[in-house]
Symmetry: C2
Subunit: 431 residues, 2 copies
Amino acid sequence: MFELTRLTTAAADFTQRLDQLLAWESVADARVQQVVDTIIADVRCNGDVALCDYTARFDGWTPENAAALELPQSRWTAALAAIPADQRTALETAAARIRAYAEHQRLASWAYTDTDGTLLGQQVTPLDRVGLYVPGGKAAYPSSVLMNAIPAKVAGVAELIMVVPTPNGEVNSLVLAAAAIAGIDRAFAIGGAQAIAALAYGTERVPAVDKIVGPGNSYVATAKRAVFGQVGIDMIAGPSEILIICDGQTNPDWIAMDLFSQAEHDEDAQALLIAWDDNYLDQVAASIERLLPQMERRSIIEPALQRRGGFILARDLDEAISIANHIAAEHLELSVDNPQAVAARIRHAGAIFMGRHTPEALGDYCAGANHVLPTSRTARFSSPLGVYDFQKRSSLIMASPNSAAQLAPIASVLARGEGLTAHAQSAEYRG
Amino acid sequence: MFELTRLTTAAADFTQRLDQLLAWESVADARVQQVVDTIIADVRCNGDVALCDYTARFDGWTPENAAALELPQSRWTAALAAIPADQRTALETAAARIRAYAEHQRLASWAYTDTDGTLLGQQVTPLDRVGLYVPGGKAAYPSSVLMNAIPAKVAGVAELIMVVPTPNGEVNSLVLAAAAIAGIDRAFAIGGAQAIAALAYGTERVPAVDKIVGPGNSYVATAKRAVFGQVGIDMIAGPSEILIICDGQTNPDWIAMDLFSQAEHDEDAQALLIAWDDNYLDQVAASIERLLPQMERRSIIEPALQRRGGFILARDLDEAISIANHIAAEHLELSVDNPQAVAARIRHAGAIFMGRHTPEALGDYCAGANHVLPTSRTARFSSPLGVYDFQKRSSLIMASPNSAAQLAPIASVLARGEGLTAHAQSAEYRG
């Protein structure tokens, strides 16, 4: 019989065993690092020639010239026109919902004038140009194109550049259709560390961007880390995770399927369930046992659940909440009565799915909130991808002659206390 | 005669020469990295014993026991009571202004229910516990304690832990007084990579935090990079910079002193002036020539100006603005008529100081906006330190049975398009 790890909070070593189950250290691979460093140096030095070369070597097709690296807009328009109507409608509906949610996140500039007459404020501006990495091949997710691109466009980013590898010259038509719907400005058929280098430093053909977002394999992630500082990057994501808190009143088949939906991503994905009724955990275990053999992606789900899945038996809801705050899960389902009251007590989670009718899968695709979320307990200090990731703030300060006279003596005393006398004199001139 | 680099936009190689002047690559030092890795591993393994050991080795005093690493609150209170009245008033006034500005930044949670009945929102929560690194010795800046600590407390961070090395057991009393005013919760007399390791992983005595902020030397910066992911970190700052746009109507002595105030930080600091009147640049050069010999920190100011300082002669204000947007300076002074109209055209800058009566020094100490700002052109994609760095957001999603029935078919089509059939079935159960 298939057996998930079971932990009980009553055990003396519970916290230790939980932390072992959660543990994830992304191993920095020295060989990958070396390859990536070489590729970045090559692209910085040789530009488009290097891009064509790596594309021939890694993607299995040889661009005729640098112009052939660009996917013209006509390709996306054609892809959008060619996909089945139900897929087009689904993409468009999801895009509209993601856009509506993003509109709520947009920050506005503000300013105030204090009683002395000093104007203080914050001017909010979009990034000029953003690069979006989209993986090619089997892990090509059109939903990720929507989730990464739409907040950038809502922020007002003037130019959004997509890069997507096209193994053997083939490009996923759903990805292109999603790019058309999301409002991508230009697209290039490049991938891997070479695409990240091109976006960070620019080539003759590929314009340099200010920030790079989007998921990728270990070469892409290592390259993003390497160019950070030259450009901004989003998070380097760890494996995906779900934590479900259930009061035992939800159909156990539903919970089993929610756990599967996480586990089917890859063998490192983590699916956890907390309940305070041992009998309910048995029911979910029975559902897993029965449903697993029917799952198309069983060969991924089963090892994922075996390696990193788990059932946690808590004393009660209060203890379940406390454990959820420790875990700080990427996805947290509250499959309970009155989920809003429980959500208000959650301090750390990427996204909170409330109630029995809100499986993570709805949020992954079309509820509207972003599916790019902090993993590996980083929800303790970071947030979902959003419009704010594509806006930045400049402080605004304007003293009047009167307020400068008020502020100068204070600045002078503090500057002299720090031994910075040019600062002091600069202030005193206006005093 | 003292000569600054002069560039003119009329020169064919202007952009190239400007980029050479701006260029700054922080060199990753392999030896520092190795030392830091060893220290982090040691602190993770040996906790307080390692902290006492490194303190004895690097800071020149031997803690009697682990308890001696903590600076009790009575020390800060005593320091605050002991400093001169004008310094105390200046610190308290600055703190009140920094707090007032920060209050404007606090994000609030929001939620809305769409026409289908799906609730969507964003729950904003503070970080639980934050570590603040404060350098010891000569670069001990009480103003930095205020600038880093106050936004965290305004955000609602429950526990703020300060670490500060105390070379030979000596601690800067202004730093302790600032800690008392800023509302630090606990403080430890530790520094270097060992302090960063202790904050990231915790020891018996030092609690593990969720994010580490504050400036430090190359060991501290390298350690922060190494623990990123385990905890959040603020930016790794490059050398400080100022860019002044002046219409030639400001007293040239004032502009010279503003350039000095940047250059006195360290020899890598960058001070640039753009004008469109060659004669005015000559006047500022004459002011520099005359004032420089009187400056206490001449030995730092002079090499900084010589190595990385510069005058830029533009054609007009429009071109000056365009150059400023390319440079994306940490500090931008607009010493011009109608500075607000100019500020509205600035897309990239850390902080904008508007008008002839607003030198950077006022903002560094007491205007209210934060002095922790993006350097080295990173204002293209990042923002001043603020309350938002100590808050995070969890997405909220709650479908009703009705809205789940609307959303499920969309999610199902998209999930099947991506080959994720457990996602599809999880959605369909609620359809």
